[in-house]
Point group: C2
Chain length 111, copies 2
């Protein structure tokens, strides 16, 4: 994942990843935690913390989210009850949606 042109990322996802990385780094420093301490609390290595704070797209999302949660970075600008509500809402919505998608003749999507 070191090669720049191996995989193309949209600018949005790239910026989002970079932003999350910076938020994590900033929150860690503000909390006066060393990279090693954050690594220990997250159950990962210090090197991975550095890659996460650099915005490495190849980092496991579980490790990133865990590190973010530990230092108090909110992923969805929402607290836990709010997220739980969204989870339920999405579950209900998914139950109503068709179980499989069929391209009915012409392409309907666009953007």
């Amino acid at each position: 994942m070191a090669k720049p042109e191996t995989r193309a990322y949209s600018s949005y996802s790239h910026d989002a990843l970079k932003l999350l990385a910076q938020m994590i780094r900033r929150a860690r420093i503000e909390r006066k935690l060393t990279t090693q301490e954050l690594a220990d609390r997250a159950g990962i290595s210090r090197g991975l913390v550095q890659r996460i704070e650099r915005g490495d797209p190849g980092s496991a999302i579980g490790a990133v989210f865990e590190a973010a949660a530990i230092i108090g970075v909110r992923l969805f600008d929402a607290d836990q009850p709010t997220m739980a509500a969204h989870l339920s809402a999405n579950n209900a919505m998914l139950a109503l949606l068709p179980k499989s998608v069929r391209p009915s003749g012409k392409v309907k999507d666009d953007f």
Copy 2:
């Protein structure tokens, strides 16, 4: 990363991951995209799309964010200019913060 007890995830990061996965799945279905089509657009395999929509913590965060961006799922409830602003703000903030964290005697953080 498949074993359930191998790594402990906080409930917040777990819920956040699950929520993002559901949002992606829901958005894909609403856009009438098959898992294969989303995989092609994101430059990943169909199997990875399935793991992403299941909330697999081991998925590469770049792949997850890219898939999310393609189907229009906003990671931070913000559009690109807003994210760019946050990026700049965080950059400025990071410049002001100390470059390295030193545990001055006792642990200052708490939660």
